[in-house]
Structures are given as C-alpha cells and as structure tokens.
Symmetry: C2
Subunit: 250 residues, 2 copies
Amino acid sequence: MAPEYKLIYWPELPGRAEFIRLLFEEADVSYGDTGKGPPEEAVSAVTGIISPNEPPGSSNAPLLAPPVLQHGRLVLSQTANILLYLAPRLGLGPKDGDGLFRLNGIVLTLLDGFVNEVHETHHPIAVQEYYENQRDEARRRSKAFREQRLPKFMAFAQHLLEADSSGEGPWLYGGRLTYADLVLFQGIDGTSYAFPRTMKRLKESGKYDGVFRLYEAVKKRPRIAEYLASDRRAKYSTGIWRHYPELEEE
Amino acid sequence: MAPEYKLIYWPELPGRAEFIRLLFEEADVSYGDTGKGPPEEAVSAVTGIISPNEPPGSSNAPLLAPPVLQHGRLVLSQTANILLYLAPRLGLGPKDGDGLFRLNGIVLTLLDGFVNEVHETHHPIAVQEYYENQRDEARRRSKAFREQRLPKFMAFAQHLLEADSSGEGPWLYGGRLTYADLVLFQGIDGTSYAFPRTMKRLKESGKYDGVFRLYEAVKKRPRIAEYLASDRRAKYSTGIWRHYPELEEE
C-alpha cells in the first residue's frame, strides 16, 4: 500500500525537505519521497509539479518551488507551511490554539537564520548563477553571517530555551519535544557542516550551551539516531548547506 | 477603551507591518499601532520586545524582529504567522481546514518574492551595513531580481489567478477576497515604488493582466481606498521598498 504522505523533492540532497523527513522519522510514519528514488524520476516529479505550464483550472495550485507535500487531494508547498500542517497530525505540536502559532513563529525565525541566510552566504548575487561567479561577494556575505547574523540567531534560540520554564528537558517549547526542536537540530547540523570552525568557536564560547544540548538530545532520539545512520539520510553536497573553506573564518 | 489588537513596529515606514495593517483596515477593526505614535516611543516599544535581555521565564517569548502582534496575553512574531492568525478572525480567510494551508503557502511565496528578495536587492552583502558600502553588489543583485526573479514571482501569481476556476472576480483563492489578495496588492505596490520602470514594462507586456487587475481591485475597495488616502498610510522611504535609480533598468 502506498504511504499516505508523499514528499516531492530534488534527489540526493538533504535540503529543505530534510526538516519534513525528520518529522516523519521521529513520528515513525512512513512516507513516499521522490528524493530517494531514481534521480531522474525525482527531477521530473519536481519539475512537473512546479511547472508554470500546468493547465489553468487543474486541481493543483501552481507551486513555485519544492518541497511539496501531497496528502490525499491536498498539495502543499513552503517548508514552514508543510511542517505546520504535519506537526499536530504527527504528535509533534499542539492540535490547535495559541501554542501552534507560537511554534510557527519560532520555526519561521529558525528557518530564516539557519536556512535562508545560509543559502545567501554562497549565492548573494543571483541564485541562478554559479557560485564561482559570486565568490568575492560570498566572502563578504559569509563574514557578516558568521560574525553578526549567526550569533544573533543562536542567541535567539538560547534565549528561548532559557525563557521556557514550563517543563523539564532541553526542549524549546512547553517542556516536551516538538517539531521546532527538530528544525533547530537540522539547522545546527547543516550550519555546522557549512561553517565547522565558526560553530566550534560558538560552542566553545559557552554562550549557547542550551542549543548544543538540544542538538545532542535530538541526535540521540532512537528513531532519529537510526535514521541518521541509515542510507535514507542524504549527504550534504551542493544544496543549501555547502562547505567552501574560503567562506570560513581564519 | 484600548483596541483589542496591538501592533508593534518601527515608526514612519510601511515595512512588513503594512501587510497586517491592510487586514485591519479592510476588516474595519481598530488596532493599536506603535508605528503611528511618537517615533521614540515606537522605537522603544520595538527594542523592548525584541530585547534578548528580557528576563528568562517571562511570559513573553523572546522575539527576533518586528512586526509583533499582541492579542490579549498572546505575543506573536513573523509576518506570515501573524497574518495566518488574524485572517480567519477578521473574515479574510477560511476558519480552518485545507484552504487556510493553501493560502498560507501562497502568502509565504508572495512574501519571499515581493518582500524578502526586494530587501536583498539593496542589501545583498550585510543587512547592518550602509547601502552605499554594497552598491555595486546591489546593482548586480537587482539585475538578477528584475530580469529573473521578479518575472518568476509575477508568473506564479498570474498562474494562480488563471488556475482558480472556483468563482468570479479577480481574486487569488476561492472566488472571494482573502488576505492573500491584500498581500499581493502590497507586494506589487511596494515593488512598483522600488522598480517603477521594470514594473511598467511588466505591465505593458500583457503577461500579468490578472495580477494588475487584482491590484486595482484591492486599491478600489472602499476601506482600502480611504486608508491609502489617509495619513495612517506611511510613505515609502528607507525600509524594504526603496527607490534607487541606479538599481533600475536602463
């Protein structure tokens, strides 16, 4: 039987889809994932669904970019939107009410800092141009990211952890694991791949102990640990989180 | 009596708060707005609520950036999140169900294209540095925006309009005005201020007639028209949407 949920994404990259995968893995819910099938089929699934040439009046909304989630007849795009839809259904967020809006605000902020701004470090001029054609600008953008933006987002997460007095444990909201913790985990993991020296320095500063404690706690969740060790977990390469030594600090 | 809703934002700029204001104005719901009071009070309201020095354990979540909405004890940040919270309450979106997720996906995409990417055109290197120190890079980023990114987002909106066969009128979703239409209106308005020549050319191309029809239809809504003519509507200046002639096309 085909899984209830189907994820449509580029092949062979963690990318933005990785946040969605982590929810399914932690919840132990099976999901289809074009990113794990034959690469050419993944590419054609993505380009098919985001194609502006899809006939007007079709039941699917036009979509600008993946990841895309199909659930029954519903077709959703935008990572934060897909996560918001899934979290209550997978037991990783409150079913409704104010808590879910608080979590959505946290997640949008984390995605800004650990995904969107990381992508800008290597493509500050034009997303459709080669990195090599914007390397000098990428150096300057990366310096601003490492020295000012990244510490700002790390402090935001650390402060959230210190402000939450509602429960035990290392979690961001309400004293229990939610999807926001999985998002922070992936953000830290990807950013540590891209900027290992910077992240090591931030860790050793002792200012963000809560953030790194949460990171380790997610990594040790049994289903997450099993997933990370499996071949379902794609390797970092040329997606959002890239490692270019020349963009790192001295 | 103090209004039920309070918006906290920088003074004297439309900015991201403008999307939220348009919902209140269209719905004819009164709202507090620090952006419209004494500038120094607005600045201290914003820096107070986003301060990382707020004591841990306080009832307010730490917030990274405005706009912030206060509604009773709830304090929310992130524009798309605030809009998602308000839209059903103000009669500008479905109360729940799949439609609201479809709208949220559309709105997140519009904010990417007409807000986040516009801001990057004049600050491609570092948000905290002066524009004058990144003008050459801004020229290159603006060229990529004008020639590739902006037409992509315009085509997305136009395609959405053509795909929606569910009702009459110029609207994006479900044949009636929703908050997504107000978001597209503001995005087009701000981008037309920043890049008037480019937007004029796109309009004259005839490829995006639905988008410009929607823009005019929102502009003529009685409460929106009254708002735009009032002194509550801030003038564009040095916020997200800026006009630098050197960033425009020849």
